[in-house]
């Protein structure tokens, strides 16, 4: 079997094995559904509660996507500002770090006091997602080939020509790597805020459904919602990887398959 088909078949096989064991354990020990639902029950719940869960998924995904977009724009703009004006970097960088290292779980309840719930979720998604964009883009902007920089200087390029024609394109691989991390993180941020909001009894996102189902001991629905969340995360990751690959495929080593 080729390397490629192995890489597809083996994970599927492992998954099937886990599901089979899960099903056998539930049957053998007659575990009640409010402790551990069988895989079949999770699937039927996914279908029977489909309308509700789908709606919640859309709410969560919309906020995730908005948070991601704000993080992407904010991270890149801030990185460019840091790169262009030292004083801005010195003034703001410590606070970007502080925002990043303070656990978002601890910030979320506070935000929920001051902001309406969807806005608080958006803010959480933004807070966790913008830092990798900022850090990676900053690294990319600062790792420009010195000789190319000298060449631009030789031809008397303006600051904006250097930024637009040299620094931004050369930072693109790192920027895209940052965005790929940010995609997953903005989902996490949104979920964390929704869970916090859920403990206050408000919300309509998928994570709120998980919290709510937990309180009601509706464990099959909890599993179904969790399954949807994972799938959403995987889809975000693959979408961003594909975009990155499309942008870099002509020139960057990371996107080019090595010939043997």
């Amino acid at each position: 079997m080729s390397q490629r088909s192995l890489r597809i078949c083996l994970p599927i096989f492992a998954l099937a094995l886990v599901i089979l064991c899960w099903d056998l354990v539930v049957r053998k020990f007659a575990i009640p559904p409010f402790v551990l639902p069988s895989p079949g029950l999770v699937l039927t719940t996914l279908i029977s509660d489909g309308g509700l869960l789908w709606h919640s998924l859309l709410v969560t995904l919309t906020l995730t996507f908005e948070g991601f977009l704000l993080a992407a724009v904010g991270g890149v703009v801030l990185a460019v500002a840091f790169n262009q004006w030292r004083l801005v970097e010195y003034s703001l960088y410590p606070y970007a770090v502080i925002l990043q290292v303070t656990p978002v779980v601890a910030i979320a309840p506070l935000l929920l006091i001051y902001l309406p719930q969807p806005l608080a979720v958006l803010a959480c998604a933004w807070i966790v997602a913008f830092f990798p964009v900022l850090a990676n883009t900053t690294l990319g902007l600062n790792s420009v080939d010195h000789n190319l920089l000298a060449l631009f200087e030789l031809y008397k390029a303006s600051r904006w020509q250097v930024l637009w024609n040299l620094k931004l394109p050369s930072a693109l691989p790192q920027m895209l790597a940052g965005l790929r991390i940010a995609g997953g993180l903005s989902l996490i941020g949104a979920v964390v805020a929704e869970i916090a909001a859920g403990s206050a009894g408000a919300g309509s996102g998928l994570a709120y459904r998980i919290a709510e189902s937990g309180y009601r001991l509706n464990i099959p629905r909890m599993f179904a919602a969790l399954l949807l969340l994972s799938l959403a995360g995987v889809a975000i990751f693959f979408a961003l990887s594909a975009i990155s690959h499309l942008v870099l495929r002509r020139w960057h080593e990371s996107a080019i398959e090595r010939e043997r």
Binding site: D145, N147, L148, A150, L151, F152, E153, L154, Y155, K156, A157, Q161, N165, L166, P169, S170, L172, R250, W251, H252, E253, I256
Partner: protein, 259 residues
Amino acid sequence: MPAPPLNNSPSTSRIVALRGVEKNFATGVRALDRFDLDVRAGEFVSLLGPSGCGKSTALRIIAGLSVPSAGAVEWPDGAGRIGFVFQEPTLMPWADVTTNVRLPLKLANNDDMVAVVQALESVGLASFARSYPRELSGGMKMRVSIARALVTTPQLLLMDEPFAALDEITRFKLNNDLLAIWHALRRTVIFVTHSVFESVYLSQRIVVMTPRPGRVFAEIFVDASYPRDERFRTSSEYAGFCRQAAEALAQAMASGAAS
């Protein structure tokens, strides 16, 4: 083809001169010490010296990329357009060959595509206009780099060990092509190298430098006619100049070690 006039005719005008140039780096390294250089218009001159003798620094000072700690750079007729070729091809990997060659024009808001095509043709890469740098061999990348330096039709072409990283066959080929371009365009070339053989093959005049801090140790006039080709490379005349240059270099090294 008529041979170009020989370098030592005093009538040709100076294009650039370095007067007592010194360069001290913040690390305490003194790269250049009272360095004097006169370059005449249309001349092919090589700076020959061991690595770290400040020859690249001298080139960067002429290009205005580095500021001398003392001394001055004089441009009798005003500073003209300069082309610079680095030791590495220094291309933008995200841009195709045409975009790379066009860069100097683009930065001057000049969209003269004819000049781009001509520059590509002069280095024999017209059919690779749409290729990306990573799709090219080392020698071809260097040709793109030379085309980019030529695209603004510079009066002065500065080359910093451009062929040092290439294999010998490619290097010989590019040596010949560079001489053909120089002959056709009549530019002034300042060529930095640590290869005795390359400097003799290419130049009219070789400036031999001492090890750090760099100073002019000797000047050798290579009074051999152009066009030069592979026959010149195996001639006794070539061997003689090489011996002369190698001896001067050895003496320069010894003087550097003594001081």
